[in-house]
Symmetry: C2
Subunit: 187 residues, 2 copies
């Protein structure tokens, strides 16, 4: 799976071949060919593996206040600047996502990823409401909206020469949180 | 340009060749080969043409109230159901967009497209504020946020097997408009 990610990062989806992945693979190359006859089969498994990693990741420290957890999530997607490694990671995932309209196996994996991330946002919202930090909003709906904002902002960052859109979207999300979510309006 | 769109719609980006476009082209095929030596050159021009079409489209009837114009725009991106033609159009554009992280010419065109669409949202917001229909919000920021919500919602619709996310995102956007924008809270 590491070999797959390395090869994807280096070559991009379009130029990726099973051979290129095998070149990154220290163990038996024939093993790789034995298991996979197309790069898409391998990439879908890679995606499942990456998503499983996300799903079982250590639970976030409950001592971190929900508003800070939300902030950290926004930074994950829409940090002011994006270093090379992080950009390559997002581009690799986005290139796989762009296969989804025509491949149901990718659509299923991305559906699963989106469900996990929105569930994690919902959990943060519930924790914030429980502590009286957030208004008692419809958590499912708010989670879907926040996640659509983040994916849209990230999509625009990766696919346009428009440096202004990221900080403006980020500020608008912060403003949304202050006005729709934070129950202490003085914050 | 029509031939390019037809070929893109039929074959998808990955399987598209200049030959496939030429096959859709009633006029001289040699003319096509004379002008373009790669499908990407042709597709970037196609994109520019489509964006120009959007830019010079007849100005919207000013008799339509700004809140209805906003609603129509949301329906464009996140209609409850997506018919086959419309879906094919969105997928074709999304497949071109997925080339943008690795091709600056695509990034420039999508940057231009995004600027035009956000400017059009800003114009609707200004018209609504002027008529006292909308609160006096920061129009640039709100336009960026609405457009990120719409692109994110559309991206998720095209790339996941997750039918719930579209209507939930759409309802959340309507809720956002009611609480952040519409100055008549009874609406």
């Amino acid at each position: 799976m590491e070999a797959t990610y390395e090869a994807l990062r280096k070559h991009g989806y379009a130029d990726l071949t099973i051979q290129a992945i095998a070149d990154e693979f220290a163990k038996s190359k024939s093993l790789l060919y034995y298991h996979y006859d197309s790069k898409d089969g391998l990439l879908v498994d890679f995606l499942g593996y990456a998503i499983d990693g996300f799903a079982v990741r250590e639970p976030v420290d409950p001592a971190i206040p929900p508003d800070d957890r939300l902030d950290a999530l926004f930074d994950d997607f829409l940090a002011e600047s994006l270093d090379g490694d992080r950009r390559e990671f997002f581009v690799a995932i986005f290139e796989l996502r762009s296969q989804a309209p025509s491949h149901v196996a990718y659509r299923d994996q991305f559906g699963r990823a989106d469900r996990l991330i929105t569930a994690s946002i919902t959990e943060i919202l519930c924790a914030g409401i429980e502590r009286g930090l957030f208004y008692d909003v419809d958590t499912d709906r708010t989670a879907e909206l926040l996640y659509s904002m983040l994916t849209g902002g990230l999509l625009r960052r990766l696919t346009t020469s428009e440096p202004r859109s990221v900080p403006t979207t980020r500020r608008a999300i912060d403003r949304f949180v202050r006005s729709e979510l934070l129950s202490d309006r003085d914050n």
